[in-house]
Amino acid sequence: MEILVCARRVPDTSENEIEINAAGSDIERDEVVYSINEADNYAVEEALQIRDRVGGNVTVVTVGNEDDEEILRRQLAMGANQAVLLSDDSFSGSDGRGIAAILAAFVQKGHYDLILTGVQADDGGAQVGGMLAAMLDYPFASLANSIQVGEGKLRVSREIESGNREINEIDLPCVLSIQTGINEPRYVGMRGIRQVASVPIPALGAADVGVDQTAVGDAGARVKRVDYFVPALSKGAQILHGSREENADQVLELVAAKGGLK
């Protein structure tokens, strides 16, 4: 099975103290460390496991610039067969639809049976998977938390409210957005990354994938970020000040008082 995983590099929320920049237009990016978006990492792991079960290839693709090669390198070390960077000046400032359009153009250049995305990017809006499927006219299932491969079909399970699950059958080719927790992604150490240090990662521009430059990037974006701020403390919020133990006790009391503990 030919599997494509769309991945994205995001600021690692567990290793950064996210602050808004002075202009209020973005987060402070000096000294920020990045990693692959967590859900995308699960998607790559799932792709690798499917490949190892039924054969085929796993390609990881991202839209970005040369800095984003870092995550592609990591996914190659994880075991992906190829990685492709979609990079063009005209791509910058794309909204979700723009990213989906770039990816859709790339997909149409190749032959993929299955396209996986993470359920949502840490700094995104869970838009790309669905839009990509629509643009390709492929069936789409979101929030997948298990995948079984059948003949020309997949059985995909997803979690619904209250921890229940539903199983859907979906025809190939299709797009799935992958929920974290679907598997246990393997570890990639420095050694693994060094071993793939010289594997070439092709960079394709707008012309290479045949995407209409006016439909992507700033030019094509129909959703624009206008502000970026830390929400002011509203009335309902209460900040506990005290030692860890005192805070824990207070939380317990508060939850009990609101009827959360019976």
Binding site: R186, Y187, M190
Partner: protein, 698 residues
Amino acid sequence: MDLPAQITDWLVAGRPLFLTIHVVGVACFAYIVTRRLVPLLHAQRDFRFDRPLTRLGKVLKFWLGQWKHPRYKFAGAFHILVFAGFLLLAARAFTVLIVGVSENFVMPGLSGKTGQVYDIVTDYAATVVFLCMVVLAVRRLVFKPARYAVPAKYGQGHAADAVFLLGLIAVLMVADSLFAASTAAAHAQHDQPTETLAVLSLPWMLKALLAAMPLTTLREINATAYLVHEVTFYFLLCYRPFGIQFHVETSLFSIYFAKLDRGTVKPVQWGVPDEKLDQVKSFGVKTFEDFTWKHMLDFYSCADCGRCADQCPANAAGRPLAPRFLNIKARDYAFQHYPVLGKAHNHEPLIGTIYSEDEIWSCTTCGACEAECPLLVEYIDKIVDLRRGMIDDGNVPQSLQKPLKALESRGNPYGKMEKKRADWAKSEGLQQDCGLKILDGKNGATTLYFVDSITSFDDRMQSIGRATARILGEIGENFGILGSAEKDSGHEVRRFGEEMLFLALRDHNTDSIRESGVKRIVTSDPHAYNALKHDYKDVPPVEHISQVIAREVKASNLQFRPVEGGNVYAYHDPCYLGRHNEVYDDPRSVLDAIPGLKRVEMKRSRDRSFCCGGGGLMLFYEPKEEQRMGVLRVRMASDAGANVIVTACPFCMANIEDAIKVAGMEGKMTVMDLTELVDQQIVHQARKEESVTATCGG
């Protein structure tokens, strides 16, 4: 032995038979041992041929001297008796065997008076060994010491095999004694000069029983005893390589080739320098053949005595790890996959077959097993090698992946910003009053305080950092910290098998330390201490803060005010300060220098200290366990009558502090770091007189 023809004529008649048994016995043994050596030839390299004198010293102390055996008094005493008996009886056994092909053979050096003395000594030796076998068999069958028990998941118990072996040795002793007794009885009947049998020895008693028997019966007994002796001897010889008794043959080699350098971890591959590691195809132990030959020898040598597991804190806490089964399972694997008869079939993965992932991650590398093993079997290096294999395959628990990634990108397992590493030092006037400098190129100092991650970033442990800084200030040290230029020492990174990440951290820190121009290093973290001392190269000498304080106390440079409150203190030895580096007395001497401080020892202290739960990455690992090691440890302190545990390691502090809460002993037990206690009790010296208002004592 000058034997009368009447009783020993069968020796000549039976010679072809005895000779055949000799040849068959020796050939079988040689064949079996050769087959046992086959996996060692497929194993990884291991450089154990250096420092022959040190190694001989180990043999004298641990093999001939049985140094570790008395740590278990009963079993140890019996082992020493049996071992001594075997050594003494070796010449006698060979003499008896050779008599079968040369009836008048006497071992050179054992004729005449010496021979008589030797015969008496060995009469007793055989008796003692026989009695030991009886006692040990009763112990195995009736008293069943808990540490020999085999949990169901590890297969059947080993008692039957143990008793069978004890029985074989007992038969050997009886046959040998009966042979001597019947010979002597026959001699006595014929007024021939008889051997003096040792009074009350087994041969002596048997002789008394046989004294009145007719010569023909004696002759039959004599011949039968000989044959039984010979057959049992060879059977035992050839049977030993199939079980725990193989250590009789292998222990000498295991101990000669034992690891000499404490606190270190074996290289990924012997003979491959760090800079060439990129060329190594596979890291760590994935299949049996990835072990080194010495580690395979360990598997053969393990006598299944259970002392390692008995001392192992992971085992005590109900984690799925008992060190002895690392050996037993690997040995069984070797026996099965490299059979004595038939073809070897090998190269199967070990994880998921004989070892489980949880088993291998359960180890805190505390070293209690290695401190206990009478045969100096190595465990930590094997655990680390198995982890290297899992890391290389990407097989790492999710709970460890985040801290490892953070160590890679941020240099600490918490994912905190590098620039905040020295934030703890910017409060309480440490820089102004204690002379704490941040060595960022503008400042220089003689002494580096290597803080390491937990003390830098953990709110609670920062108190250890501040106490250490105040103590260093108090003794007038010209010192500083690296601040954002310091990264995690990588001590646990290496011990969790992530060698490349460790090397990156080490190289970074080495450069930072060398650039700072310091002449020596002090740390309050035993893990950093061990790393800097044993894992790093080309850095200035390092000391743990307890050593520094002890020296200053001895030189009367530090005085303490008396402790109040009638507390009873127990010192908990951190594994990497105590067992791995043998710093036991310095922290204790500091405690004892504090007036009025009442100190008790926990039963498990010094090299038998019980690990708190492990440091570094172990704080992130979520083990499968029945209870926390720390809780067990806190109870031990309570049992010793203490209500304050003093330790000298931030990880011990973290684990024990949590354990006090989990055990519900808040208010009854507290834990503090040695530096915190010292800082609290210090009487500030005249050195600060010029700036009384700003004493470093805070």
